[in-house]
Amino acid sequence: MKTLSLSKLDALFAAISAAQKLYIPAEDAGGQARFTPWQEGLRLSSKLNTARSAKDLFFPQVENLVGFKVSGKQLEILETRDVTEDFVLFGVRACDCRSFDVLDRVFLAEPADTYYQTRREHATVVTMACRRPSETCFCGTFGIDAANPAGDVTCWMDDEQLYWRANTPKGEALTESLSCFADGGEEAVAAQQEATRAILAKLPLAGLRTEGFGGEHMMELFASPKWAELSESCLGCGTCTFVCPTCQCYDIQEFKNGQTVRRFRCWDSCMYSDFTKMSAGQPRPTQKERFRQRFMHKLFYFPENNEGVYGCVGCGRCLQKCPIHMNIVKVMKALGEEQK
């Protein structure tokens, strides 16, 4: 364990960004925290989490895939991929860090998505333990410990000090490149973890359980009459999927500019009618089916294919952002009742 006085935090950021790009959670003009490239004077946000999830850094909302030049009957393929350089993602919370594991299971499964893979390989993830989890947090439901996040490096912060623990060879390499640390901090971290875990245990959603959400109940809960009621107010706006750290459905679209065509991918949402619409028909004709798909995927389909890992990390963003206050917690509670 290493430690550093918070008065030297800027010096740490400066040292990291001298070698590679550094992203930290910082507040924009509207006061929303977002991962922002560090530069002299940028302040680390004190918000619990960023408004948008950390998936943006590996799976951006829009990215170029490939280009084409069209001349008469001929086609030519143009390389349009952005160059990715090494970067450090600082201040990732435990929930968002788990979301990378969920995304890895999709994008790194054979055949690997090389756009995502390249960014993952170039990134060093530095997580930050939570001290004041909020009432919308439920990462513990999915076995995540907010007081001891994963990542290449794990950090804790109190009012005076930053504590730093390298977990992986990448994390160790980053640590070795920095000379500003002193040794120590184990006791302070242990005390903070104990205090945080006491808060976590008292959170309103601390009792939310995943029991009953698994393969054997899939068809039974798919057919539940609760879906009609739960989805009734859903606007199909897709906000939940956009802020969700694990939602990874995408669309591929093209932009035509004279003879050149840019093929890009962008986030998409299973909440939209266009998502599954075909000339031959629409397998999910109403918002009920689209709504059900999103939650069935996170609670049943995804874990069925991924050793029981759920497609939710309990970050609580959908609880905060949904305009009609519908969310996965309400769905889990309603379906859990169903099973009793």
Binding site: L65, L75, I77, P283, H297
Partner: protein
């Protein structure tokens, strides 16, 4: 830069055959004039025209066709309308093959096969049928029931009449929805015709066609005593990546693009009915 599976290769459409008023068959080769890739009957590929879009099509030609691959495509949307308007010699992009394909070298071997197709649903069956014809001694008797709205809507009509109908051990049963002057064959819908023909329930069935045909034909087969394990179909859902990542073709814990498109009905019974 790494090669990404989403990036296609350039290919050339060397021949376009008009099959019906709304179906054409496109012959595709690579820039080197050779077949772009090897495939298994029932697999699919992504075709695209940059600036128009990319879409998934089942491969109609048999893997035993060594020189090219072919796609029979019905005009019904943005990409297909462009394909139907294109001229021979134009370049397109292709990537694939995708999906599991039919178990032609395992479960089908030694079996009597009953193919049931409706309309453009013959496209994926065409690949299997010609594969089985090529390796004729590996399979038992072959029956083909194929129906369309009218005589003009029967895809591959010439090949069916000139080749399939002429071979020993293959029985072809054609039907059209409504009687017309130049037609002396059977008239009626596929599900009823299958019932009338009354097949031996030891056969392995491969079925593809419009959902309504599938629904009633399957019910009929069950009444006749077939088991759901004996009946195969191939599915189609909207797809963008064809790699199991974009999320569109997800049904339950399966992705049609990589776990399908070929499923047995007993496998489909275990999935939500969102297709």
């Amino acid at each position: 830069m790494r090669h990404d599976p989403l990036i296609p290769v350039i290919a050339v459409v060397t021949k376009i055959r008009v099959d019906t008023p709304d179906v054409k068959t496109f012959r595709v080769v690579g820039l080197d004039g050779k077949k772009p890739f090897e495939h298994i009957p029932g697999q699919c590929a992504m075709l695209s025209m940059p600036g128009v879009g990319e879409a998934l099509f089942s491969i109609t030609s048999s893997p035993t066709q060594e020189d090219y691959i072919e796609f029979s495509i019905k005009k019904c949307g943005c990409v297909t309308e462009w394909l139907h308007a294109m001229e021979e010699g134009k370049q397109v992009t292709i990537r694939g093959p995708y999906g599991n394909g039919f178990p032609v070298d395992t479960a089908f071997v030694g079996k009597d096969l009953l193919f049931i197709g409706g309309g453009i649903g013959l496209a994926p069956l065409h690949s299997v049928i010609n594969y089985c014809r090529h390796y004729r001694d590996r399979y038992g008797k072959i029956d083909i029931v194929y129906g369309a709205r009218s005589k003009a809507d029967l895809v591959d009509f010439e090949e069916i009449i000139d080749q399939w109908c002429q071979e020993d051990g293959i029985s072809v049963h054609l039907t059209i929805d409504n009687a017309q002057p130049e037609w002396d064959g059977h008239v009626g819908f596929v599900p009823n015709y299958v019932q009338e023909l009354g097949f031996d329930t030891s056969k392995t069935v491969v079925m593809c066609g419009p959902p309504v045909m599938i629904k009633f034909t399957l019910a009929g087969l069950m009444d006749m005593g077939f088991a759901r394990e004996q009946v195969y179909t191939t599915m189609e859902l909207r797809m963008k990546c064809a790699l199991g990542k974009c999320g569109r073709c997800n049904i339950g814990d399966k992705y049609v693009c990589k776990d399908g498109p070929v499923f047995r009905f007993d496998q489909l019974d275990e999935l939500p009915d969102e297709y």
